[in-house]
Symmetry: C3
Subunit: 303 residues, 3 copies
């Protein structure tokens, strides 16, 4: 647990430990944070920018009493562009902090960083086909918090799944629970990659591939929508509007189901449904803060 | 007072409450700041960059003992560029902090943000024809501090006034005081817009439009110079050098008048007059820190 | 000692005072930092970006209990690009902090800033032919820490020395010690500039210019390699591969010599030698934190 680079690292007991700590973090924030981690420095090293994810980690650290070093766009603004090794950068930056939150542009970047770093590395996204394990943890916590169970759930994941970092990481996590059924809804060109399916086969997790939202939507407990990259779509000459979640879809869903989205969203998720009680995506974003706080305390407490 | 999006929100009693708090902030800074607001996090969300304004807010928060989350250039480095709604961004970022200082590229951006935000929104500039209310408050405080009065003053505002965010916000504030006389000095093409004049008419504030600095300069208590955007001027084929404030202008001014400028400056304000006692623009920049500290304490104390 | 803009400012007693404080800083970091400087704010104002140097200063400040204001790329993101004077920027930013760490794109920028600043200016690199005095101090501390002496050392400096900011600053520092011998190893087109040689002549420091690493490598106690700017080389049609430090060079070096590099590195320093005990460059980067902490305490304690 020193480094967090992929979802597979987390055992069920570890996940449940994290999810027990998480509500405590909500109470800590409500009473104005703690000073318990005031000796710790967290550095965000983001080679691709994401204000949301960066702020989520930085706020988590500040609410714990810790301090932050911050980069918005390390790729542009560091000598990395001139050919420096990621490993060298990590060796140097690790002198300045107690934990590095890394978003890197290459699949496997976080694991390479972890191999040389004396301080904890947390993967905040590596490459378009890589992982984003803390997003998966906050997604799973949201499912747990909304549904109160993790075994026996049916989950539909929708979008350009082949490069869907969050979907990939979440599939690994869900595969650890019993009687889970996964539906991957995407046009054939953008379906989930075989490495995930192979993993699900090994874990004997039931799944279906489909290119029809309509056939699946009434069966599932969780609808996990993801963002459409319009540039990619136009390259493929694909129309994904049939996968959009809007008011016409709501009526077909279970009344106690949950709609999630890692945000930011585009046309694939209509703001007209924001006030529906099943719309959990803003609660999901808020959970990100608490889950990341809990994760940081687990890392620091075990040192 | 939860959100600060436009000058019009401020009543005279509110303004005077702010101006009574402001000198206290100067004393707090002189003795090394306070820890009173150590549970608070302020996020600067700047879609257009301004190191000066950002540092002014962030320093104010740090001197109060608070913590900061920071963006230099959210427009470039967030997914906003891919079409995310400002409202969604605010809903998410508001989970991570207690106050958002927003500089947005669209007029009305701050008001839209305030409509959905559970935490305070402070407008640090919205669009080129929008407002910048905290700049106007520090400008007004500087006038008050230099002249010791606010009623009965004559104020000349000079420059490309049609898109002058600071001038627009300050005109709204000055219109709240008695026997104020405003001179808008600009070429006809760049004169102050009619919405401001209409507001002044309604408030029965006396004003004159002029394109001659020379005719006005000897009559006024305050000369508020603003920056010339050379690109705009070249589009209009205008020469504004007759509006420049330099040593030749000093002799025509009242001996107890005040020269202000929101900075940064270009050729319109000569550095040769920096040592003149009437040159108040560096004191004005310094006041920004104290006024913003006072404003933050008012927001947090009322929560 | 209010402002740190060039190496020449440091007398030997000052240097030794700094080097006595430095190991204390290492112990402070090991026990989780101090809160002694909690009233202080340090602003990093970087017109050219360097995540490494910026983080080194910011971490130093945080470990001392101080607070930070941060810019990654002031040149791009401030109004400076529109022609604002550096002096104006410094006058304004100095209201918001107690110390400004400045990386400026023009030689002499730090000295110009120091001339108008009421708060301390620390030069973190000014122009390609300027100085980087804190880098030189951490380099000298590393030499002292590795070799245990500063008098009587032979030091080879290698690379594009004409624009080598770190080499220039280090040469000034080394010239203050006795019986030092400097070797400047570079192709004639890129040799160290005459102002440095003139300074060494005045200080009666022994030096040699050479374009052969092989002739010098076996004689020196310290090999100071610097980064090759490939763009510059291609303009000159130069091949500098004969100056590369790799395993074949190790055998020719003294067994108790020291290999240094300001990092980031490119092909001029092979990662194959990282595990050799003489490879001191990662320790050198770590020393940067402690030397900068010590320097900040000297500045703040003398206020």
């Amino acid at each position: 647990m020193k480094h967090i680079y992929e979802s597979q690292q987390f055992t069920v007991p570890r996940i449940m430990e994290l999810f027990e700590r998480t509500p405590l973090m909500k109470r800590i924030v409500a009473r104005g944070g703690t000073q318990d981690y005031h000796t710790k420095i967290l550095a965000t090293l983001f080679y691709n920018s994401s204000t949301r994810t960066r702020f989520s980690f930085e706020s988590a650290m500040l609410r714990l009493g810790g301090k932050i070093l911050s980069t918005e766009h390390a790729r542009e603004f560091s000598s990395e562009v001139k050919g420096e090794l990621l490993e060298d950068t990590i060796r140097i930056i690790s002198n300045y902090c107690d934990c590095i939150v890394l978003r890197h542009f290459e699949e496997g970047g976080a694991k390479r960083a972890a191999a040389v770093s004396p301080v904890s590395i947390i993967n905040a996204g590596d490459g378009s086909g890589g992982q984003h394990p803390t997003q998966a943890l906050l997604d799973l916590f949201t499912i747990y918090n909304e549904c109160k169970i993790l075994n026996g759930l049916s989950v539909a994941m929708i979008g350009a799944l082949d490069l869907g970092r969050t979907v990939r990481s979440l599939a690994y996590l869900l595969s650890k629970f019993e009687r889970v059924k996964l539906y991957f809804i995407a046009p054939a060109e953008l379906q989930i990659k075989s490495d995930i399916l192979q993993h699900l086969d090994e874990k004997r997790v039931s799944y279906e591939l489909s290119d029809s939202l309509e056939e699946v939507i009434s069966k599932v407990d969780v609808v996990y929508q993801t963002r459409i990259d319009r540039e990619r779509l136009s390259n493929y000459h694909l129309d994904l509007s049939r996968f959009n979640i809007d008011q016409s879809v709501l009526g077909k869903m279970k009344t106690d189901s949950v709609i999630m989205h890692p945000l930011p969203r585009s046309v694939e998720l209509s703001s007209a449904i924001d006030s529906d009680p099943r719309a959990a995506y803003f609660r999901q974003a808020q959970n990100g803060l608490f889950v990341r706080m809990a994760l940081l305390t687990m890392i620091f407490d075990e040192e």
